[in-house]
């Protein structure tokens, strides 16, 4: 049972919940929790949410995107406030996990809210003082949809070997210098590590983006065993 300590807006559709969880055993970057809501009439709904915070952060945080017509996300984003309790179980998942001890290079590919578990990895990387070379390719619909934009910029500014490239697929501001199309093979080749560098690749986002990116990476010669994927339900990006 978690207590909501604070709710922080990230974008017009996305909020981060800062949680206090008594007895929390700690987690690995990339893991998730299962959140369960129970109505007065006993009706239950359950969804999985990736943990956004690094393992040693003060709060366990979840970043949630409101899916229009969703069952759980509108409640978490629009209704929940500090002081409320949230039933959850976790941490869950031992596969889609990266810790600095695994080494790199680290090639992260995010579609929409797929950025969340990858952000936990990058926050951990920074907190651990790791200089493992890392690239994040992050696809969003518009500039306003980019989650953690400022924090990512600050992480890059540390100069510890992290590069971040953004792709905006629906609309872009005047003078936009980033990518202005969906993720494709030339983009992956340009921005990412070559297959010969044997990067650990993590891809997360909607199923369509994850499967497409995985195929493109295999086409570029990346080893299947070094690519880890996590498919989210439908979202933008």
């Amino acid at each position: 049972m978690a207590e909501v300590n604070d709710v922080i807006p990230e974008t017009h559709r996305v909020k981060t919940l800062l949680l206090g969880i008594p007895g929390w055993p700690g987690h690995l970057p990339g893991q998730h929790v299962d959140v369960r809501l129970t109505g007065e009439d006993g009706y239950q709904a359950q969804r999985s949410y990736s943990i956004a915070s690094a393992p040693d952060a003060f709060h366990v945080s979840l970043t949630v995107e409101r899916i229009s017509d969703g069952e759980v996300s509108p409640y978490l984003v629009d209704e929940l406030h500090a002081g409320d309790r949230l039933e959850l179980r976790g941490p869950i998942g031992g596969h889609f996990v990266w810790t600095a001890t695994q080494g790199g290079p680290l090639f992260l590919i995010a579609g929409g809210s797929g950025i969340v578990p990858l952000m936990a990895m990058l926050r951990h990387r920074s907190a651990a003082g790791s200089t493992v070379p890392a690239v994040l390719l992050y696809s969003s619909r518009t500039l306003e949809d980019i989650i953690y934009r400022e924090e990512l910029s600050n992480l890059v500014g540390k100069g510890d070997g992290l590069t971040v490239a953004h792709a905006l697929t629906r609309a872009r501001p005047a003078g936009w210098a980033g990518y202005a199309r969906r993720i494709d093979q030339p983009m992956l080749a340009e921005v990412g590590f070559p297959a010969s560098a044997r990067p650990r690749v993590f891809v997360c986002g909607p199923t369509s983006i994850v499967e497409s990116a995985s195929q493109l990476l295999l086409g570029l010669g990346h080893e299947r065993s070094l690519i880890k994927t996590e498919r989210f339900g439908p979202t933008g990006g």
Binding site: M1, R36, L37, T38, G39, E40, D41, Y43, Q44, A45, D69, E71, Y75, E79, D84, R85, L86, E87
Partner: protein, 206 residues
Amino acid sequence: MSKPPTSRGFRARPRPEGQGKRVPPGQHEVSDFPVLSAGPTPQTSLETWTFALQDGGSLLAKWTWAEFEALPQTTVVVDIHCVTAWSKIDTEWQGVTIDALLEVAGLAELSEPYAMIHCDGGYTTNLPVEDLIAGKAMIATRYDGESLTPEHGGPARLLVPHLYFWKSAKWARRLRFMDQDEPGFWESLGYHMYGDPWKEQRYSGD
């Protein structure tokens, strides 16, 4: 097990007034049409599509798409109820009733009391024949006036609205009659053999 804690202010979508009697216990009404599948959406071409009636090993009747479209068509407006608790009121479907199929195939009386529907992708579900006849079921090819889309079961699906919607099998290709009831795909995984939403027969043992 103790009652789970209630989440302050959480409820399933509110049900509109007046639909109370049409929504079975434990269900709530939705206005969208959720898609739930046990596997990838098959992409069956109309050129190769056929629908068959089968009895044990013998083929009783078979229709190509053109032949099927030429059969007597029926349009119904019915409520549908998914075991995952959503219900949709007043949905319109068009297709060929099982009664019409049996009649055209010259099967006035079936000796077998049960049937299994077999679908592209391997999905199956079992039903008593009694629940397929007398206007209770059809092979539907159109939803809401349009051709049934693949994600909703097109080219054709079984429609048996008085039972939970997992019985309205998508991508239906073959109806096989049998002597004894056998569990289909979800029934083999703990779901009820019959599935009456008004008795909340969701799981075996209900």
